[in-house]
């Protein structure tokens, strides 16, 4: 652990209000610098000052007068790539929070729990291969604010990101922004499909793009759809005839399949049912496993 990580760990875990955090950061930095100037090395300093979590809990207690910080935590001992396998942070609503202002603004957290936005700043970030928390970072990160290779959350970013507002290489969401593929309500991406889609290749309701297919299409090569089932063959024809990069053609290949499903939903029932079953299983798992792990500890 270097000095920066050490300080960050203390500050995040202290759950102090923003103003105190700023002061604390400056003070800890300056204290560690003083010790370094006197010839101690960083390992010795950390050894002398102690475990960041212990310092943080002392800070919280001395500042607020409450002995319990407002979160539950589970951190597995097993690590992978230097990250704990599972790290879960969850707000403890039962703990008194005298010094952290709470506002009535609420957002929905994965797992059906309510989360308080103002509160999110006060809690440590979950970091792990599987990270769950109001703020989560990891290989697979799930949380209100999440970042990771695969991230799911209210506001999420990652290679594959799914969320209300999401950004990444592939992203799905209400507002989806992606370098490659974006799907959702408002989408922007190289290839984008959605209600309002903007992209090099775009398909959906109102679409803008070099290659655009939709009810209202604006672009260089466009196909305006007025009757989906009636025009399906023409749409296929349009896709075949396009002088477009293979990636675009591939994308439109998938769009074609989606159109097929839309035209004849019954034929796609097995697929739709199995997909929803898989999703339901995943979401159930995401609700149950973190709860079980947290319960183990408390």
């Amino acid at each position: 652990m270097n000095a920066k990580q050490y300080i960050r760990e203390i500050i995040q875990r202290s759950c102090l209000p923003k103003r105190e955090r700023k002061k604390l950061k400056v003070d800890l930095e300056s204290e560690i610098n003083s010790a370094l100037e006197r010839g101690e090395n960083i390992e010795q300093i950390i050894e002398r000052m102690g475990d960041p979590d212990k310092i943080a809990s002392e800070l919280y207690e001395n500042y607020s007068g409450e002995s319990l910080r407002p979160f539950f935590e589970y951190k597995s001992e097993n690590t992978l790539f230097g990250l704990p396998l599972v790290h879960i942070i969850r707000i403890n609503y039962a703990a008194a929070v005298p010094n952290i202002r709470t506002v009535g603004l609420r957002g929905v957290n994965i797992g059906g729990r309510y989360n308080n936005f103002a509160f999110v700043n006060g809690l440590p970030t979950a970091r792990g291969v599987f990270a769950f928390g109001p703020k989560a970072k990891g290989i697979i990160a799930i949380g209100n604010f999440s970042a990771g290779f695969i991230s799911i959350g209210n506001i999420s970013s990652g290679l594959i990101s799914i969320g209300n507002v999401s950004a990444g290489l592939f992203s799905i969401g209400n507002f989806a922004l992606a370098l490659l593929i974006s799907l959702g309500n408002f989408t922007v991406g190289a290839l984008s499909a959605g209600n309002l889609a903007l992209g090099y290749g775009a398909a959906g309701n109102c679409v803008f793009g070099e290659f655009a297919v939709g009810n209202e299409a604006v672009g260089t090569y466009t196909f305006k759809v007025s009757n989906l089932s009636g025009q399906f063959d023409a749409i296929k024809e349009f896709f075949r005839g396009l002088n477009a990069p293979t990636l675009i053609k591939e994308f439109f290949g998938y769009v074609e399949k989606i159109i097929e499903v839309i035209i004849d939903p019954i034929s796609a029932m097995p697929f739709i049912i199995s997909l929803s079953l898989v999703l339901a299983a995943v979401i159930l798992l995401l609700c149950i496993v973190p709860n079980k792990l947290l319960k183990q500890k408390y």
Binding site: K23, L24, S30, E31, N33, A35, E37, K54, I55, N62
Partner: protein
């Protein structure tokens, strides 16, 4: 020694002690921790205890801070010093503390 009890003991007194040390000379954080632990062996002050007290003192206007570039190569340091209000507070609280100690000693007098 009961750790919890020790914590309760220290809670009120540390503020006075810190104000006293700072009234002797202004100090920066590391120096203050060092000085406290050197002169009060039983205190065992850690960062987690010191900083919240400092912030409280500062908020109450009993103490103020100042930045200074100490040496040419070093980082600037944050120096803490006592205000007039702080000195007054220290003197008053110390009197109260002495009264408490006196009473306790009188009550506990025949013990040991």
């Amino acid at each position: 020694m009961n750790e919890n009890l020790m914590r309760q003991f220290k809670k009120g007194v540390l503020e006075i002690v810190i104000l006293k040390l700072l009234s002797e000379k202004e100090m920066y954080g590391y120096e203050l921790v060092d000085e406290l632990n050197r002169r009060g062996k039983s205190f065992n002050i850690k960062e987690g205890t010191l900083y919240p007290i400092l912030y409280r003192l500062e908020d109450d206007g009993l103490m103020e801070t100042r930045w200074e570039q100490s040496s040419s190569r070093g980082q600037p340091k944050k120096y803490y010093s006592v205000t007039e209000k702080g000195k007054q507070f220290m003197a008053e609280s110390y009197l109260q503390w002495k009264a408490i100690v006196l009473d306790i000693t009188r009550i506990m007098g025949d013990l040991v």
